[in-house]
Symmetry: C2
Subunit: 513 residues, 2 copies
């Protein structure tokens, strides 16, 4: 454990005529033997405050030292150790920001907070925000908006544990490549244009004052590196958290948001790709799609006996919509109940009168208006169904393309880590039924929670993790799917339930219509 | 030769789908093999400009890399090599600033400029400026004043060779400890209070933008370290320039300004001290004392035949006053002409009627009103004479105390380097006659010119010099004279011409009054 910022206790002999070393030099001289590195730098902006605090404290107290890539950096001096040496881990998501306040000495999480990303006002998805960013002062607006969100969250965290904002002395940031560009005020123009090049993959750590973050101005801000425009630091976080890069056995990490990002490998090699999975899985497409929250239908099953659907909502509140995991369950149930066919089309007939015609085509009434929240029915239209079919086909194609590329089979994969809310909520069983995930023993699938936030926490705490993730960037072979012929062919075959090649899904019932 | 800022030619392959490395990472990847160090940092403030310039130049051009203590730092990218890679060497003197513009590739000096230090408006000497600095916004005023002077000089330099200010990409600064505090806006409060401690001896390099210098904002500003409050970077420069620290034989370096600063040593050891020599030698005391300039009496000799003084002025213009070297010559001549006695007092009598009584006591008419510039006589009063006697006694006492401290004799000293205007102008012969410098063969004395400026130039050009001067700080044993009993005893003995112990000065005629 070597936190991103360290406290070093110092008790120096005071200056005298026989030892006229300057104040700052005296402090450095006392600190250097405690460090593994031969030099200790002091940024110009901290020179006066460090030297004067050291003298004011009677040449005795605690030095605050950032761990940069270029070596240790002395940024503050305190007369007494702080109550807590606190750092902020930030998951910088496109739709949501999540933070944890971490005690850098114990590793303990002291507080959590989250908020929607206010940049949504400038564009719901990454692409529309990039377009906004490159016009006028769009980038500056996006930057300021997200900094304001983060400052608000930091204030919440600090308040919760009775600290001041200046007591937060480090921040680790894990986010997708575009969000990191907005965070650092970097022009994202080339991110969405072939060949999709970031301005920087691995930015050097900067200081909070560089970004007008409201935490301690000298707090080091460490941003997880990205591998490409569509493979961000959030996924590097996932690798850190899952230990994929250190295991002997081959494993896979799947992170599904607007994009599906996948890494395959072991301690010898790592291959990755990312592709548009479509917003269906994030709950953005289905008219009643929503993020997981009270009233969201999160699990649906087909009751063989009654021949009906059983819906379970979050907090058992009246249904308001369907979240990502709910849609997968629902469509799998509709398939098992033979309400849709292998192409994902409503079959008509034996539906108990739940198929209705709307201005947008056929729809299935999942929950009737009578039982829905606010007297509103929850429905799934053919349009939504088609979107999900594309998403699931994309997902399976991404996985097979990746596996195929390195010449391993799905059976060779020891473990599949599934990150984020998607991993926490989906039933691998139903995803396999749809042909979205490969037909492997269910124990292969392991949710890893918010690995983006967890990776950022590790960056705050472990020098080895910081070193590891910089090395990871060079170690990962990234496969660009946008121009991959193999992927396009596989995509067509995956647009059926479970697949045109039924032998790939022996566990899924097959109905010969 | 490894200049403080380097140009590295790069021709990178442009990004493509098979190589989606970010722009900045691509540049760093191409630069790293050219560097001896394993990492290359980019300051946050330069991230965007470097990455965007690299892309705009078609991934081909010249990278600008600063050499910091923490390793190389990438700060700019140019589509084509600049006309000149230029740096500024600055001698930051209490009364005068001198700069040279150095071609960092050839080492050539392209231009020179100098100006009075405008801080004089806030106090003629160091001590009064320190007092001014610690009141209200005094420090800020002193800082801004000297920065404005430097910016003016840089503008002159750039104009002289047809460059823009932003073409000046590095600065090395050599000055006494107090001037460096003002330059870096550091509180000098403890510099003049026992035990005389600087805020910092060896500040880390900073950037021009940190100090609002008008040269390139990312230009690295490298300040020579000091050893103590009275032993500044200017003297470290002198050591660099004289090579004192690398020679097998023991040598001495003397730098006389308001203070006399002396270093003794060889490649094995270095001992130093500094003491107030009094302003007499800088020409501040004698009523007609002046800095070396047209009309200043710079050489005086006693003509045995005529029994009269022969005065030589700079540019042979009518005499306006006496500069430091002229005063030493004059007093030596007055001694040899028996106009003053061994105590430095006017003897009266055989003076050819040139002793006059003034409101301030007896004075000697060096040049009559008839021959002086503007009909003004040049005189030397007893008061001035007394000041010079104290200065010369201080100087000799400093030298003997230092030599005594390390147990060597003057005869063991191979060479005595005499820095600055003092070194350029004084006659060692007359200084020996007065008992100011030890009675050694005249060839022992070697002027080294403005070694402060020369040391700064070496910092711009040589990595080895930068390393050497940081190491020097730890290698020099500094002897504090303010509390040295030995020094006080020696001082009393040295207040006679040449000395109470005449055996020390065998070459000086002795008059038994």
């Amino acid at each position: 454990m070597k936190p991103l910022v360290q406290l070093l206790a110092v008790e120096a002999s005071p200056p005298c005529l026989q030892d006229n070393t300057g104040d700052l030099d005296r402090l450095k001289k006392n600190l250097l033997p405690m460090l593994a590195e031969p030099t200790l730098s002091v940024p110009f902006s901290r020179t006066v405050v460090v030297a004067e605090s050291f003298r004011r404290a009677g040449f005795k107290g605690v030095a605050v030292v950032n761990d940069l890539l270029t070596g240790p950096e002395l940024v503050d001096f305190l007369a007494a150790p702080p109550k807590v040496l606190a750092g902020v881990a930030l998951d910088l998501g496109t739709t949501h920001l999540e933070v944890s306040l971490v005690d850098l000495l114990s590793g303990e999480i002291l507080a959590l907070a989250n908020c929607p990303n206010s940049q949504i006002a400038f564009g719901a998805d990454i692409l529309s925000r990039i377009h906004f960013a490159v016009k006028g002062d769009g980038l500056q607006q996006l930057h300021q908006t997200v900094i304001a969100d983060i400052n608000g969250l930091c204030e919440e965290l600090a308040a919760e544990v009775g600290l001041e904002l200046v007591d937060l002395r480090a921040m680790a940031v894990s986010g997708n490549t575009t969000m990191v560009h907005f965070f650092l005020r970097l022009n994202p123009y080339h991110l969405c244009r072939e060949p999709y090049i970031p301005l920087v993959n691995a930015p050097d750590p900067c200081r909070a004052s560089d970004l007008a973050l409201a935490i301690h101005p000298a707090a080091v801000v460490w941003v997880l590196p990205s591998v490409g425009s569509y493979f961000g630091g959030d996924l590097i976080s996932g690798i850190l958290a899952s230990g994929l890069d250190q295991a002997e056995q081959t494993s896979m990490l799947i992170d599904v948001g607007t994009n599906a990002e996948v890494v395959l490998g072991n301690r010898e090699w790592l291959v990755a790709c990312a592709g548009a999975a479509g917003p269906a899985l994030e709950g953005g497409v289905a008219r009643m799609g929503m993020r997981a929250g009270p009233g969201a239908i999160e699990h649906v099953s087909w009751d063989e006996k009654s021949g009906d659907l059983l819906c379970q909502t979050i907090d058992n509140e009246p249904a308001r919509g369907i979240c990502g995991s709910g849609i997968i369950d629902l469509v799998a149930a509709l398939y098992l109940g033979r309400i849709i066919d292998v192409r994902g089309k409503f079959r008509g007939g034996a539906d108990g009168g739940r198929l209705i015609e709307t201005t947008e085509g056929t729809a299935f009434v999942v929950v009737s208006a009578e039982h829905g929240a606010g007297g509103q029915a929850v429905t799934l239209g053919q349009v939504d169904l088609d979107a999900l079919m594309r998403s699931k086909a994309a997902m399976y194609s991404i996985l097979t393309t990746l596996v195929n590329q390195v010449g391993v089979g799905f059976a060779d994969i020891e473990r599949i880590f599934v990150a984020g809310a998607f991993g926490r909520h989906i039933s691998p069983r139903q995803a396999i039924t749809l042909g979205m995930l490969p037909d492997l023993p269910l124990t292969t699938y392991q949710p890893v929670g918010n690995s983006s936030l967890d990776g950022a926490r590790r960056i705050l705490l472990e020098g080895a993790a910081r070193k590891r993730c910089r090395e990871l960037v060079g170690k990962i072979t990234y496969i660009e799917l946008n121009v991959n012929q193999d992927f396009m062919i596989r995509f067509s075959g995956a647009k059926f339930i479970p697949h045109t090649d039924r032998s790939l899904f022996p566990s899924v019932p097959f109905f010969d219509d």
